[in-house]
Amino acid sequence: MRTLAEIVPLRTAACREAVDAVAEMAAGEDDVEPRAAAHVRSCLRCQAEVAAFRRVLKVMRSMRHDLVVPPASSLAAVLKALDEAALDGSAGSWALWAYLGGLTAAGAAGMIVWLTLRRPGWSQAG
């Protein structure tokens, strides 16, 4: 039986220049450099490589659904970190409200003192 090398011509300089276009065409990307694309379309060797890389990409796309099992402790640690972040967030917002409340109270007290000091009776008494 004849091998692929006997059937398909060996790679030329143009084939080497089109190596990225081969991958892009296999991936179905639409911004392939026109000159390289034209070579690939006219070259049996490159077309064979497009078919080969398309198969590699098909396997790679399917690998998205292959899951690695995380260590048992990993999920628990992340949930704990999220709990701590939630607590920090609650504490942070409570502190913010307390701070704003304090500012408001201090402002109101200052306003009362200022209005009281402005009353004519106070200035005459002084």
Binding site: A23, E49, L67, V68, L75
Partner: protein
């Protein structure tokens, strides 16, 4: 070593389920947040593992990812799938971790990748067959420099657009495309040279949930 354990497969949720859980979690529903994390954990961990190449880094990346996602949950507009949003955060956290580490340990990107011989016996398609495909590709990916591995994993496995990859990795779209070209060339070389599963690396992919 016995057969690897299978990942839990009964926690897959639809996009609608994700959206409901996201809304509930935004409102402070702790149980919804935990359910959301449990439903997406294996997939997020898998991406982190593929990007970083080891368990310790993958764990750090995943923890950082979920903390950032939790803090940014209100900003998630729902115009993308929740999992895609998580993948982008994972890519960004992974890039930050690996870049930080690389500042201490220089890893060179070779500019002049050799183009492999075009002999038939070097053809990746002819070398790949049956159930070995995933193992060979996984092993070849693990041998790529991390900068190249990131782009090819995000583009060719997770199908993220060039623009999204560039943004999350903190590089220009042109640079992302250049890296992708290099990554694919190197991947092809590795597969052609039989540097995949034949190199004897431990296969980490343990279950197909698809």
């Amino acid at each position: 070593m016995g057969p690897p354990p299978h990942a839990p497969q009964g926690n897959a949720l639809s996009d609608l389920d994700h959206a409901e859980l996201v809304n509930a979690a935004r409102g402070g529903d702790r149980a919804a947040l935990e359910k959301l994390v449990r439903a997406t954990y294996s997939a997020t961990y898998t991406l982190a593992f593929r990007l970083t190449g080891n368990e310790d880094d993958a764990h750090d990346v995943v923890q950082d990812t979920y903390l950032r996602a939790y803090r940014g949950l209100r900003r998630f507009r729902g115009d993308a799938q929740f999992t895609t949003w998580l993948y982008r955060i994972t890519a960004n956290c992974s890039a930050n971790l690996l870049a930080k580490r690389a500042r201490h340990r220089t890893e060179l990107l070779r500019e002049d990748e050799p183009v492999v011989d075009g002999r038939a016996e070097a053809d990746p398609e002819l070398r790949m067959s049956g159930s070995d495909d995933r193992a060979r590709i996984s092993e070849a990916l693990s041998q790529l420099p991390w900068r190249l591995r990131q782009v090819v994993v995000l583009r060719d496995i997770y199908d993220l657009p060039h623009g999204a990859i560039a943004k999350e990795l903190g590089i220009s779209e042109a640079a992302a495309k250049v890296r992708l070209h290099r990554a694919r060339r190197r991947l092809r070389d590795l597969l052609s040279a039989g540097g995949g599963a034949a190199a004897g690396g431990e296969e980490r992919v343990r279950a197909n949930a698809g």
